[in-house]
Symmetry: C3
Subunit: 318 residues, 3 copies
């Protein structure tokens, strides 16, 4: 085996070096300059366990030195943001000029640390929404410890704060970690009001320019996405515009609904039914549902016939 | 950086302590009393590797001392259940009184250990259902090692046993671990018969009060959920009732179907088509399908016209 | 507790040994002969970090000895493939005979190592497709570091190469790792052309016999699956046939679409709308969409009435 590999290696190595360098040029050229996915995830998990001791780690860190832990996290994150700004500068001509990278990183993290109390008070309203929104919820701690929708929102509130400070890459790596863990894909750019609850959540997609009001509740498989064929006269993708829907206060969107387009507004207090596919706006108080299909039954004569529903009294117990 | 953080810290710390204590009061007050998510997951993974040596870990533990491993797991899990019962007592006035917590934990784990042989014999039928239900399955070992639907069911059979013993939090943390790993969200409360197979599984949601018969097969994206607007005359959420569907024996439910409501029964031997949205019962032997859409084609003249399908003979090879 | 467990143990142990041995017989009989899920995942992650240094690990490994790392990975993977071939031989009478297992493992890994440059050049086109296909993408590095669809395709190109060498189990364990991490379930058998992009991706299922052309773009929740009731005259599942769709070049398939059947061809340059459920072929240039539902509004008088849409001018700002 070893011999065969040895024979193959030189050509493969050359190809690899060539291939790799064209993909992650900068990280290769500048050694360990760029932070890896895992490093970002570690800082994120670290911050979350500072915010909610004993919920996600093996032990309750409340005995530890909180300020020390917070400071360590902040210095770590600042270093990663610094590298991330530098990397961005190296691929596009940074308008602010590279000297600002260190300063911008410090400011981004300071802004996040300052915002933590405000973030926590919004999250408390999210937790209450989750607890009250799900009949199966037994306690707030259960919600914080085990609800994927709650975890995704915790990560989003942190990543969104870094996104607003224009930190490259890191907010997106954080949100993709939450996506991987929960199946809920919230772009760090989305603006989401308090009291937000995603139940179950697998398959949820919330796009970069979404604007969501207060006390909105959505279920698994809901997409708030872009209409991909929004192109200009020359047929180029239009960038930097509102690509994703507005969802106003107190809207409920049920499993599998797909709502697309930057001109689409879901009016306050509306209810969107399961599997509905919607690319235009609906006024406040709307209820949008798909027609239910007529079921068919194979009769004794082997023929198919329609049957009027419902059959809540057909008496097939279990 | 350090200086800036130092300046911010006092206020932030105060806010954090205040914020945190209102969320996870008990775990903070009682130091490491509450078990973290990760600790529960470790015991779960440990039990699974005892049940299926060599399938999920790096090595086959069959050489190890099985009874020793089992005993260690049981003592560990008992400790976690004990803390979990105590935590529950501390947030609601525990009807049984706190002295029972230790005893209830011991009983819950003993019940689980006693049930392991029965659980394994049910799981064997689940494995056979997976192997026979998927033309792509090459061996039972492949099914046990790599099928997410099988992993989710293994975890469910364990968590459901603890749920029946009324252990707080832990069953839900276990099922959410499976949810995170597989995208399959089965509430530990669901009652599921033998020979159950979930293929692919991402996005599947099975609610707390679901009752599923024998040899049921479901596909990715299927929801067996509650109709959220089940409220009483005063408009309060009705609790403690049957909120989720009954699914009888030998039913097949295809990708993306959403079946809602505690009064909804899917009769035995029925087939529910992809993306169907159903909130009423159907009798045994039903086949429920959505109408297929008519495709549109842009013709040479730039106009759209409908075309009759199917076109299995339109000859566009690949 | 300990006493209770001790009392239970003998019976349980007996049952466990019996139960386990019927599930993973071989791995139990042959000690650590069979590789565990985690061992396969480690080699896979190791290979990916060799291909894309600094993207997924904590540090950039480009400083390390590339050829050494590659050789270590290859020897490791060969050992796992060897055990996997042996296991397969032990459950079915291996046509080639067990002596070939070691040789077949060496050849499979050599084929993969030789193919790495070609795989990387295809992946480069996939990365470009992702970067150009998503208005939210800020850089290629962001795409490689954080896009789940890109990660799933990286793993698929590796697993598919081992699948073509008929390595048992391992390709499937690799693809299920990607499924667990991304919610994207691509069977290692699927044949997928260059420039392939899956956006968001949670809930995507691509079956074993799918054939997908160049520059195809699909969204979350898309299923390219089998029609399960394809049975022969005696009612047995038909195996070894084309069970999954053909998708030709430049097709776009939007969120939640379900396309089933081995006789189903999606003609080149077609567009399949969200939540469409399709079991027959459509010609090139087709656009297939579901009708949008008419929304209902509760009027002041408490009655429901339909309203003509769209309401992009109903003026409900946010």
């Amino acid at each position: 085996m070893k011999r065969m590999i040895d024979k193959l290696l030189p050509d493969v190595i050359t190809a690899l070096n060539k291939s790799v360098s064209c993909v992650t040029q900068n990280s290769v050229r500048r050694g360990s300059a760029m932070v890896g996915q895992q490093a970002v995830v570690n800082v994120l998990e670290n911050l979350i366990s500072i915010l909610f001791p004993g919920c996600h780690l093996q032990h309750d860190s409340s005995g530890d030195d909180l300020s020390g832990a917070l400071e360590k996290m902040a210095i770590n994150l600042t270093d990663q943001c610094h590298k991330s700004f530098e990397h961005q500068c190296s691929i596009d001509i940074c308008p602010e000029g590279c000297d600002d990278c260190a300063e911008r990183a410090r400011e981004a993290v300071a802004t996040l640390v300052k915002a933590l109390p405000a973030i926590l008070s919004i999250l408390r309203k999210d937790f209450v929404a989750a607890y009250e929104g799900d009949p199966a919820a037994k306690s707030t701690l259960e919600v914080v410890m085990s609800y994927p929708g709650v975890y995704a929102v915790i990560v989003h509130r942190i990543a969104h704060c870094l996104y607003k400070s224009k930190v490259p890459l890191i907010p997106r790596v954080m949100s993709e970690h939450a996506h991987s863990k929960t199946g809920i894909d919230i772009h760090p750019g989305a603006a989401i009001g308090e009291g937000f609850f995603i139940d179950h959540g697998t398959g949820v997609v919330i796009g970069e320019t979404c604007v969501i009001g207060k006390n909105v509740k959505i279920y698994q498989g809901v997409t708030l996405g872009a209409i991909s064929f929004e192109k200009d006269a020359e047929g180029h993708l239009i960038k930097g515009i509102q690509r994703h829907p507005y969802v106003e206060d107190n809207v409920v969107i049920y499993a599998g609904a797909t709502i697309l387009g930057g001109a689409t507004k879901i009016g306050a207090n509306s209810e969107i039914g399961g599997n509905v596919w919607l690319t235009h706006s609906v006024p406040p108080g709307s209820k949008v549902y798909n027609q239910q299909p007529q079921p068919f039954i194979r009769a004794a004569d082997g023929m198919w016939k329609t049957v009027d529903g419902p059959w809540d009294d057909f008496g097939a117990g279990i």
